[in-house]
Each structure stands twice: as structure tokens, then as C-alpha cells.
């Protein structure tokens, strides 16, 4: 076959229905005189017919197509159900995570506070110390109490005792109450 590329392209355009009718008429007229052009046209048509035959043979039956269509719809429904359950499970998971996080934060906060000095412990650890001093202010004895009342009571007792001693001409002892931390 001796057909130029441009002629072959024209034949293809005509085969595909893309060639204007006037140009198609001219090409058909040329085929009457040009045997190569006519042979090329026939070859193009034969090959296309072979392809169409093959594609038609491969076409699925209506029954098979219906099965695939049913499968498509079933898969879509299953997908929808999964999406719904996925949404619910995500919601439940989020709530559960929030609860766990809140619990963890609370537990952590509680643990941190107990590790530090507790105010109550500080209060209970505080002692009251009553020192007995001589005339020069030097401590000669000391007594500790867990409450201020007891310490004051003790100091008053010592005061009364000191007053009695003064009357008797004994040495001067002065009670001094101090607040101490026991650490």
C-alpha cells in the first residue's frame, strides 16, 4: 500500500465520523481512481470490525451485570453501616478517653498534693516549747507541749511556783513560751 500519511489521517477521520461531509465526498471520489487508497480504507474498516467483534464478544451477559449491580448496592449499604458504626464507636471512644484522662489528672493531682507538706501535718507537727531561764536570761530547762493551752498552763504553774519561791527567797526562774516546728 502506498498511501501518504495525510491521506491515511483523512481516512481515519472519515472512519471516526470526524471528517466534514464535503471532504468525505472528495475522498470517496479519490478512492474510485486510487486503488491503494481504497485498499487502505478497506483495511481500516476490516480492522475496526475485528475490534468491535472482539469487544462485543467480551460484553457481559445481562445476568452477570445484574449480579454486579446487586453487589455494588450491597457493598454500598455495608459501607454505610460501617460508617454509622464507625461514627458511634468514635463517639464512645472519645467519651471514654475523656473519662480516663480526667481520672488520670485527678489521680495525679491528688498524688502530688500528698507528696508535699500537708497543712494539717504542719499544724500537728508544731510544738510549743516552754523554756525556764534564770535572771540573766540563760535557759536552764525546757519543756515542749503539743498545744498552746497546755504550754500556757505550764507557764502559769511555773509562774505561781516562782512567786512562791520569791516569797521564800529562792533563785529567779522565768518561763518563756516559744513556738517551734518539729522538722
Amino acid at each position: 500500500m502506498n498511501v501518504s500519511d495525510s491521506d491515511f489521517s483523512m481516512l481515519e477521520l472519515m472512519l471516526d465520523g470526524e471528517l466534514p461531509e464535503e471532504a468525505a465526498e472528495t475522498l470517496r471520489a479519490s478512492m474510485q481512481h486510487d486503488k491503494d487508497l481504497a485498499a487502505a480504507w478497506e483495511s481500516l474498516q476490516t480492522q475496526r470490525a475485528a475490534r468491535l467483534t472482539m469487544w462485543h464478544e467480551d460484553q457481559p451477559s445481562q445476568q452477570r451485570a445484574n449480579m454486579v449491580a446487586s453487589r455494588v448496592m450491597r457493598e454500598i449499604r455495608v459501607g454505610q453501616a460501617w460508617n454509622r458504626w464507625g461514627w458511634v464507636s468514635r463517639l464512645v471512644g472519645t467519651v471514654a478517653a475523656c473519662v480516663v484522662l480526667g481520672f488520670a489528672l485527678g489521680w495525679y493531682g491528688r498524688g502530688t498534693r500528698s507528696a508535699g507538706p500537708a497543712p494539717m501535718a504542719q499544724d500537728t507537727a508544731a510544738d510549743y516549747r516552754v523554756e525556764l531561764t534564770d535572771e540573766t536570761g540563760r535557759a536552764v530547762a525546757a519543756q515542749t507541749f503539743h498545744s498552746l493551752d497546755k504550754a500556757v498552763e505550764f507557764a502559769n504553774d511555773v509562774d505561781q511556783w516562782r512567786t512562791a519561791q520569791r516569797r521564800g527567797g529562792g533563785s529567779m526562774v522565768v518561763p518563756v513560751v516559744e513556738h517551734t516546728d518539729q522538722y
Partner: protein, 184 residues
């Protein structure tokens, strides 16, 4: 916008019922085997269903065709495992007939025997994916170059080139596979 009285859901289901066979044929012609074609069509519908409210389902032919072609080309771009040919894999699924009684394109079709069909099938399998897709849309779907360019996302000259080169390559391959029959 759906028709009055028909929801998007109903129109989508109707499209699945009415168009699946045609879409399977297109996908089969492009990917080359029926099992993959079914996967392609199923995936195409699943993708469209996710965004179904964006589309007009009153006349979904073009949309479905475009989606299936693109899904077919996407599948072909992926690494391919060995696939049994349809003749051995699922002869029941796709009707394989030795002769076609002149359907569709004219009298020449009825003259093609099964051996020729097998030769043509092997030759088409060797075509680059885009050449094959363009040829399927042009000859089997009888779409214009403008429509093919739209579906494949290419320019019209590019589509013309793909079809032209596809035919040239097919003619050459046929001569190699069956020189006595195709050496014209």
C-alpha cells in the same frame, strides 16, 4: 438536582441498575479482563456514591463513563499481578462466542472468526493504556474526539495522535501475529 418525587438515592440506584452492563463492557475493553473490570465498576460507583449529592443523576451516562475510564486507567497504572485470561478464568461470566452475527458496525463484523478475534485481543493487550482507552471510546463507545478529550483529560490533537498511533501499532502487531491474514 433530582427529579420531583425521586431522591438522589433512588436515581443513583437506577443508574447502577441501568448502566452497569455498559460500564462493565467499557472497563473490560480497557483493562483486559472481566474480574478487574468488575472491581473497577464497583469502585467507580463507590467513589461516586460518597459524593453523590454533588452530581446531577438525571443523566449520569457521561459522569459514569468518565469515572469508569479514569478508574480503569488508575488500576492499570498500579503494579499488576498475573491474571488468568477470561477464556480460562470465567467463561461463564462473559459470553464468549465463536461468531458474532453482524451486530453493531456492519456486515464486516459477521465475517470475523474466533481465531482472528483472539489475534486482535492479543494485539490490543499490547497497546499502551491511553491508546487503548482512546480507541475504545472512539470505536466502541462511538464518542467524538471532543468527548474523548474531555473524558481522558487530554487535548483533541493528543487524542487524535493516540488513536492514530494505536491503529498503526495494532496493524503492525497483527502483521506480526498473523502475517498471512493481516499482511495487506
Amino acid at each position: 438536582m433530582p427529579l420531583v418525587g425521586q431522591s438522589t438515592e433512588e436515581l443513583f440506584q437506577k443508574a447502577v441498575r441501568d448502566q452497569t452492563r455498559r460500564l462493565l463492557s467499557i472497563a473490560r475493553a480497557i483493562v483486559g479482563n472481566s474480574a478487574t473490570a468488575e472491581d473497577v465498576v464497583q469502585q467507580a460507583f463507590a467513589n461516586l456514591y460518597q459524593h453523590r449529592n454533588r452530581y446531577d443523576w438525571r443523566d449520569p451516562g457521561g459522569l459514569l463513563r468518565r469515572t469508569v475510564v479514569n478508574e480503569s486507567l488508575r488500576i492499570l497504572r498500579q503494579p499488576r499481578p498475573a491474571v488468568l485470561s477470561d477464556e480460562t478464568a470465567d467463561a461463564d461470566s462473559f459470553a464468549v462466542r465463536s461468531r458474532v452475527n453482524g451486530r453493531g458496525a456492519g456486515p464486516l463484523e459477521g465475517m470475523i472468526d474466533s481465531e482472528t478475534t483472539q489475534t486482535v485481543r492479543r494485539a490490543i493487550e499490547r497497546l499502551p493504556d491511553h491508546f487503548r482507552a482512546a480507541l475504545v471510546l472512539c470505536e466502541y463507545e462511538q464518542m467524538s474526539y471532543v468527548q474523548i478529550a474531555d473524558v481522558l483529560g487530554a487535548s483533541i490533537p493528543q487524542v487524535k495522535t493516540w488513536i492514530h498511533r494505536g491503529r498503526r501499532q495494532l496493524a503492525q502487531t497483527l502483521k506480526e501475529l498473523a502475517p498471512d491474514r493481516w499482511d495487506a
